[in-house]
């Protein structure tokens, strides 16, 4: 799938730069030792300063949809594809794609494992997920 690029220099750029290195980097608070998502001004749990920390990359499928009609012209040929929210073991919920899965095989609650794919900006990759059994 040709992923439209996130914006270089955005608050979440470290997440996408790390994805290029094969690491799932999430905002993490040193003060309360909790992860959070999305990246924001301060830790939503304790208002502490957030830094970045690598997550395991495992979780479960929270909910999903099969997109039959792509909006971005560059994705027309990729449809149908699956968009989803996944609940990571670290306690945060990420928006993503489920790759290499048939719609009929999907069910909320299934285990998922992170993978990485390039976006249209060579420096910024995006984390995607596959069902654990197929990862």
């Amino acid at each position: 799938m040709k992923h439209p690029a996130p914006r270089a220099g955005s608050t979440s750029a470290p997440h996408f730069e790390a994805a290029k290195q094969g690491r799932l980097l999430l905002p993490h608070c040193a003060a309360c030792a909790k992860f959070h998502w999305p990246p924001q001004a301060a830790c939503p749990h304790c208002d502490g300063a957030a830094d970045w920390r690598e997550a395991k990359g495992t979780g479960t499928l929270a909910t999903y949809s099969v997109v039959y009609r792509a909006v971005n012209p560059e994705l027309k040929d990729d449809a149908p594809y699956v968009i989803a929210f996944v609940d990571l073991d670290e306690g945060v919920r990420l928006f993503t794609n489920i790759v290499d899965a048939k719609a009929a095989d999907l069910k909320s609650g299934l285990g998922v494992q992170c993978r990485f794919e390039p976006s249209m900006d060579a420096e910024l990759w995006v984390p995607v997920f596959a069902l654990t059994a197929q990862a």
């Binding site: 799938m1 996408f16 909006v71 968009i83 919920r93």
Partner: protein, 387 residues
Amino acid sequence: MPVAIVGVGELPQGQSSLPNTMVLHEQLARLALADAGLALKDVDALLTLSPRSDAYLIHATGLAEHLGIRPAVALTLEAGGAAPAAMVDTARGLIEAGTATTVLILAADMPLGGVSRNTYVSNLAEAGPIHPDLERPYGPSVPSMFATVARAHMDRYGTNAEHLAAIAMQNRLAASRHPNAHYREPFNFEAYAKSKLIADPLRLLDCAPVSDGGGAIIVTSVERAGESRKSAVNVLGSGFSMGHLHLSAAPSLTAFAAGDALDRALKQAKLQRSDIDVALVYDCFTIAMLINVEDLGLAAKGEAGPAFVAGRFAPSASGELPINPHGGLLSHGHPARAGGMGNLVEAVMQLRDAAGDRQIANPNVAMVHGMGGVFATHGVLLLGRSS
């Protein structure tokens, strides 16, 4: 100083034959002013939304220029589908402070006529409720974001296609009684189930259409409203709430903040939920209607679907609480940035007993709910028949 709505204007929703979005605004303005028995020169405040089909640095000021008027106040507000409520509340503030006396509120857009439909849908996904960094790289359409919420609600509460279809069919039946509605042909469950999947589990008939349209209203003080041509509708209360802008930041995928907006409006109006005689609920998708009805506290969580199937919210004599007698965004129409203006116009028509074939019997209090983004921000107005 309490305020009242003394004029409304609406044109048929759907493909407009008007040449452009400015002309649509102008015609709506003239309709509302004529309805109120006022003239353009009486307008000393103009509130608009920035139409997606026609962009200006300050749209309201550009519209004033087009209309050839120089109101003291010309503001363009941004609150998504909560904007109609925000505009009325802004008008209250202007009037109560003495900044203005006669406020013309316009919300209109021409996504079919102003730009091509594909460009519109694409703009919506890029500059709409989709996060530019955290969501857009994965290719979501707006329907697919609502679809993730629909599946989460299905998984948690057993909501199903029959529930969603009941909402779509109720709205279409209601719209069949509205001369301005975009889609007026009733359909049955088989037709719903055969309509194409747009973003599983949502089908075409779960989605509001893309419509040219919108509406206009005139707000003034209750004191001055006494001189108006038609019966005035009083603004009893307003309330707002937000939970997130992007769905990625929502704390829950099955419950959102609409109820807080209604609670705040009820407190201001010194009313209870049981005082509401007719409800206008923002329904850009069937699942939006279902969840908003629950979040507003009109049905318990998980019970809105069965309640729609049972006809509890039908806008007919049998309905316990009539919802969307005009057909909602789903069938009356969804004029892009102006989505939800139809809810406000319909509330006024119902409280004036001027809704023709779709009139609810003797409503005294109407609730108008608007929503911006994917359940992101909510605005509620409580309107009352003038006694």
